[in-house]
């Protein structure tokens, strides 16, 4: 449904997006994840036809985003970052305005506005002036206008930024409900949000794709090679000795903390240690108070990539 090939964008001397390629099949929810300034919005703007790419191309539902821009734009419902709306208009008025720009005849517009009002919970605020609405309600209006013409592709740039947790939950549920009806691309700099809604996550940092896969794939990828942290009541040296002898262990570092020993065990690639370590502890009869995989969360992976980017920036500044 979306095909992106080697997309590059330079802003003057700054390269915001550096050769991004991906494909989104019909019906998929793709989460676009990255720190602020990673190039998410720039990529999205190139897909929606707001910015032309410096090089590379993008195809939206079979239409070239640059050469057949108007046709491509018709396929997309788009919520830009920071939800720009006309503050002096009423919700319903604004939706009519959007519908007219999408060339929807009046009867269709009325039906579609009823539908999206229902879907996005706008029923009570249809006659209200947008400028007087809360941030959460404005966000709903933004999503409603994107859905209005029943687009094949829905692109939401940071749909939950600036919302409180309850509102975030509501938006997340809404996106879940839309699953299957539209191909959805949503971006965020907050991981759990994308992790919960998306079928697939692309992590982007410094204008490049750093990881691409389903949330569980990525978690597995991160889990592999993760060290195991163990805390047992024993003597440090004996723990070191016993753990080093376990099959699949690459290295062990121990730290004595009073009666307890904290050991960090690094496995050889591809081996799962926890079961065998448990066996060893049992045989030695040590008391245990903790054992866990240390870097199994996607969050840490994400933080690591983010840190890489800030490092790049720091180097550039230096």
């Amino acid at each position: 449904m979306i095909h992106v090939e080697n997309l590059v964008k330079w802003y003057g001397p700054t390269r915001a997006v550096n050769g991004i390629s991906f494909d989104v099949p019909e019906g998929q929810i793709l989460g676009f994840l990255g720190p602020n300034g990673a190039g998410k919005s720039t990529t999205i703007r190139m897909l929606t036809g707001y910015l032309p790419p410096t090089s590379g191309n993008a195809t939206i539902a079979g239409f070239d985003a640059l050469k057949e821009s108007e046709k491509a734009r018709r396929q997309i419902g788009y919520l830009p970052e920071s939800t720009p709306l006309y503050m002096e208009m009423r919700v319903e008025e604004f939706l009519h305005f959007r519908g007219k720009l999408m060339d929807m005849p009046r009867a269709d517009r009325v039906k579609a506005i009823d539908y999206v009002s229902d879907r996005c919970g706008l029923k009570e605020i249809r006659r209200r002036v947008i400028g007087q609405l809360s941030k959460g309600n404005r966000q709903r209006v933004g999503i409603a206008q994107a859905l209005l013409h029943d687009p094949k592709i829905l692109i939401l740039d940071e749909p939950t930024s600036g919302l409180d947790p309850v509102q975030i939950g509501a938006v997340r549920n809404l996106i879940q409900e839309l699953k299957g009806k539209h191909t959805i691309l949503l971006s965020s700099h907050i991981l759990p949000e994308v992790e919960k809604t998306a079928d697939r996550v692309i992590i982007i940092a410094a204008g490049e794709i750093k990881a691409d896969g389903s949330p569980s794939d990525l978690r597995q990828k991160v889990g592999q090679g993760a060290s195991v942290l163990v805390q047992v009541k024993a003597n440090g040296e004996s723990v070191q000795k016993a753990f080093t002898g376990v099959e699949g262990v690459q290295s062990v570092t121990v730290e004595q903390q009073g009666d307890w020993v904290k050991a960090v065990v690094q496995p050889t690639p591809g081996s799962e240690l926890r079961e065998r370590l448990g066996q060893t502890i049992l045989t030695n009869g040590w008391a245990i108070r903790e054992m866990r995989n240390e870097t199994a969360s996607l969050e840490q992976f994400f933080i690591q990539i983010t840190a890489d980017q800030s490092q790049v920036v720091e180097e550039a500044v230096a």
Partner: protein
């Protein structure tokens, strides 16, 4: 074309929500009435020619107030992104914006109909020159607003686009008026400059003459500045 009207309608409604529009409306009504009563006296001809001559000077300061936010505001609030990602061409956007401002501009003249009523009550005016006078004013206004649309696409800052519009209009009015009288400029060039003089082209309308070449002058002026505005909006995508 539907898109142009959609944009124009929205623009006109939003103008009525902005305080600046009411300032313009109030000053315009006040100014045109003062100008009217200045030339309204016994034994004077029952026409509004004098008023119209003054109103086009008044428009230099007031019309840029209407146009200054047309495009700059869209960039400022980010709503331009909604428009540019809709199936809407840049030409439709610019034309719609200009047409919306024109709509508001034309409504400025509704209060002046009272003045026409006064002329009718105290004399028997010739409606031909009155009608062509209004047509002339609309053409001058359209030209000024086209300049304003162009200026509002240059800068996100409304003050800058206001000043730029006033300055450009002054080039076509004050500056030419003064230079075409200056002795150091050769007469051929003075003649050529006279041709660019807005007020010179308006004079005929006030007298009741509809001259095609005058109309072409204003229409091509509008087309020129609107074309520049479209090019500016297009170029924003590439920056």
């Amino acid at each position: 074309m539907n898109h142009v009207i959609t944009i124009a309608k929205r623009e006109m409604t939003s103008l009525f929500f902005s305080p600046i529009a009411y300032v313009v409306l109030a000053l315009f009504s006040l100014g045109s009435s003062l100008l009217f009563f200045n030339s309204f006296a016994p034994s004077m001809p029952a026409s509004m020619q004098g008023t119209f001559q003054g109103v086009i000077w008044l428009m230099i300061l007031l019309l840029p107030g209407i146009s200054m936010r047309l495009i700059s505001d869209e960039f400022h609030s980010g709503t331009i992104e909604l428009l540019m990602t809709s199936p809407l061409s840049d030409t439709e956007l610019v034309l719609g914006k200009w047409l919306g401002a024109m709509g508001f501009f034309v409504t400025l003249f509704i209060p002046t109909l009272v003045l026409v009523g006064i002329v009718e009550a105290f004399g028997s005016p010739d409606y031909g020159p009155l009608l062509t006078g209004y047509i002339g004013l609309f053409l001058v206004g359209g030209f000024y607003l086209a300049i304003g649309t162009f200026a509002s696409a240059i800068s996100q800052n409304q003050i800058i686009s206001y000043m730029l519009t006033v300055f450009t209009i002054c080039l076509f009015t004050f500056v030419i008026y003064l230079l075409s009288r200056a002795a150091f400029i050769p007469p051929q060039i003075q003649q050529a400059m006279q041709f660019m003089f807005v007020n010179g082209h308006f004079e005929d309308f006030g007298k009741g003459v509809l001259d095609l070449s005058r109309i072409i002058y204003f229409v091509s002026g509008m087309a020129f500045f609107l074309f520049l505005a479209v090019k500016l909006v297009e170029s924003k995508r590439w920056r």
